[in-house]
Subunit: 218 residues, 2 copies
Amino acid sequence: MKIAVVGTGMVGETIGSRLIELGHQVAMGSRSASNEKALAFVGKHKTGASAGTFADAAKFGDVIFNCTKGESSIDALKLAGDAINGKIIVDISNPLDFSKGQPASLLPALSNTNSLGEEIQKTFPNAKVVKTLNTMWCGLMVNPSMIGGGDHTNFICGNDVDAKSQVKALLKEFGWKEQNILDLGDISNARGTEAVLPIWLRVWGATQNGAFNFKIVS
Amino acid sequence: MKIAVVGTGMVGETIGSRLIELGHQVAMGSRSASNEKALAFVGKHKTGASAGTFADAAKFGDVIFNCTKGESSIDALKLAGDAINGKIIVDISNPLDFSKGQPASLLPALSNTNSLGEEIQKTFPNAKVVKTLNTMWCGLMVNPSMIGGGDHTNFICGNDVDAKSQVKALLKEFGWKEQNILDLGDISNARGTEAVLPIWLRVWGATQNGAFNFKIVS
């Protein structure tokens, strides 16, 4: 599959590398076509990787992974322009607010009665936003069996049922088992999954270990 | 132990009944000494239960369980007055905002960069606030072995180390195992545990089952 990864940080690098490992073609998008991290990503992979602007990447991909920082996701995706229309955006970012001390809080305009996932969907009504994977460290996103035999929970939500099915197929390629992917419903449920961050950051702080995830026990 | 339970809803009734079952003496406090639910609670238990005003209960208890609705917790505890000074408040409430549709959001003034737990501590600087149990259905609070062999996570936080130890002892009486009680640190970590509610409510909505809890898998 042709996939765009927008955002060149650790999350984008991890997602992009795993997708290439799985045989997909990945275009990494950034503000500038000569972004050093994106070019390093291309250099690291012998085949399957390319780099370009946000618009270049969005044009290339049938699915777009949003791996930008939550505070700048909307702006970054806007730079991708019309290429986004009709495509699936897998939104794995969080609206973290680093301006009010540590651990980060959530951006007031994008939390509680709103969410980044919803805001992206509102901004791009012709895209199909699927929120998932945002509740854990990126190493686990693409390799859940690293802990607990892979038996822990990944949430998914979005308005388009078919888009969610397609994203679930990719999640299974990453190693997620059907029974551990919990569909919460429409994209407004991103209010719930993004609200995991305040507890996630504190568990991380208390345990000094980011390789953990939440499991629903019932 | 002499324990005050303030709040006569399902949570207060569940906590109070379990404490009596464990051999503690419980005073249930409410706005009026003739509160019907509190009197029914006393009638249900042959020994160990009493009822009174918030102040009566707080005077009686060495430990005070706050089981009021989060939106009115501060006011209810203020009615208890000076009796609160020096005592442990086990805060198991959540600052839910039911005014903006379902599922409930969090009260803006008591979430994100603040929390109900912190606000109670600020309001009663001479009390020792310990936040715990607020991330699950009340049936599980007092009987964790109901699911998954009791092997799931209960968070605790508060500024006073000794008060947390005393509350942990009570949690163990409820059936919580040491390794499943995760101390996050000071009371500001209530920002994290109260932020569990937006995801809790949505998991409940999706699964139609409230008898679940989160487990940290690592």
